[in-house]
Symmetry: C2
Subunit: 218 residues, 2 copies
């Protein structure tokens, strides 16, 4: 059977796609990391064997190898990824590895956390005027040099949450006085986007998105 | 009743979210443009009055004004947007206008076309190594100067499809020899991503995404 790498959306079960629900309902094995809420797996794949996947590369790779073996043995395997599997999700890499072992593999997109934050908290990321484009970055590849070279009107930084101060410090150094910096957390799960300088940052749970608008406005 | 601005995903009905399905089922009025397949509205909101929205700003604004009046009269109004409503979708602008008229308005995110293209056609847009970041642009704000200033490893251009040659020409001038340019069309609706230089471009239906990887690779 194929392996399905499926986007679970940002956490609210209502943001699962119909396709994700259909695949979860027929899964023999569901593998997921700690960013996917247990209630999604409980509700939509109660019949499936559950496998937790670690975020560290070695743990992730070992888990993927075992899942490919399960699929090769005829099991329907769903790898459930927080958000969308192609936006910093390593979803396609899983399929590449599967195809090296002759196992069919499909990737099903999901609602990404940045789009959910923008929608649910009505934080414009494009407006067709001053916000013409959006760049998506992730923490391990974020620093002053990278931010300075990416001159997008809106910059989104995906991160785990333990380096927020560092990212904000970089933004403070690189961006002009028009910049608006937001810290979005627990997107679709009771969280929100807090504008820096307006509210103290407290009780911010991982994962976190930092959204910087108008960094490069003259 | 509130207005709901809802992402419909890229076109395949299986990429609707559960939340979109729930709102469509209770809608009195569903408004949508010509990028949303009729079959989605027929299947999930057979009870609703259908209103088509034009893409031109004046048509769009007039339609939104009428929809706000319907909501103020107590109707449940769903504005269904292709893809995600915040990524070049003017979704939040609709809610701003609604709130100026005292009408509650929510935006529900959807699966964006670029994530769907990446997933369904297994075209990596991030890989944690050479593809560290993604920039999203839209055609009216795409030209040589803008491309040259956005130094993202992956650049996605959202467009209607009648200016493909112009975008490809700009990419040819700005990008280095390592660049890989893909034209993605009819995403999730029987289309695919065609790599430029490998297959002739034929029968490309709007809307179109152009995905440029490694434009700035030295």
């Amino acid at each position: 059977m194929p392996i399905y790498v499926v986007g679970a959306g940002p956490g609210d079960p209502r943001l699962l796609t119909l396709w994700a629900v259909e695949l979860l309902a027929k899964a023999d094995v569901v593998a997921y990391g700690d960013l996917v809420p247990e209630e999604i797996v409980e509700k939509f794949a109660p019949q499936a064997l559950r496998v937790k996947i670690g975020h560290k590369k070695a743990d992730h790779d070992a888990a993927v190898k075992a899942l490919i073996e399960e699929a090769a043995r005829g099991k329907t395997v769903v790898v459930l990824k927080n958000g969308d599997p192609t936006i910093f999700g390593r979803g396609i890499q899983i399929c590449k590895e599967a195809s090296r072992h002759g196992v069919e593999c499909l990737v099903i997109p999901g609602v990404s956390a940045f789009a959910a934050a923008a929608a649910l908290y009505q934080l414009e990321i494009t407006d067709g005027a001053e916000l013409r484009h959006v760049a998506l970055l992730s923490y391990p590849h974020f620093n002053a040099e990278i931010l300075a070279s990416i001159k997008a009107d809106t910059v989104v930084v995906y991160m785990m949450g333990d380096k927020i101060a560092e990212v904000l410090d970089v933004a403070g150094k690189i961006c002009g006085p028009a910049a608006e910096v937001f810290v979005c957390h627990s997107v679709s799960r009771g969280g929100g986007c807090v504008r820096l300088g307006t509210t103290p940052l407290a009780d911010v749970k991982k994962p976190v998105l930092i959204i910087i608008r108008r960094c490069f406005k003259q």
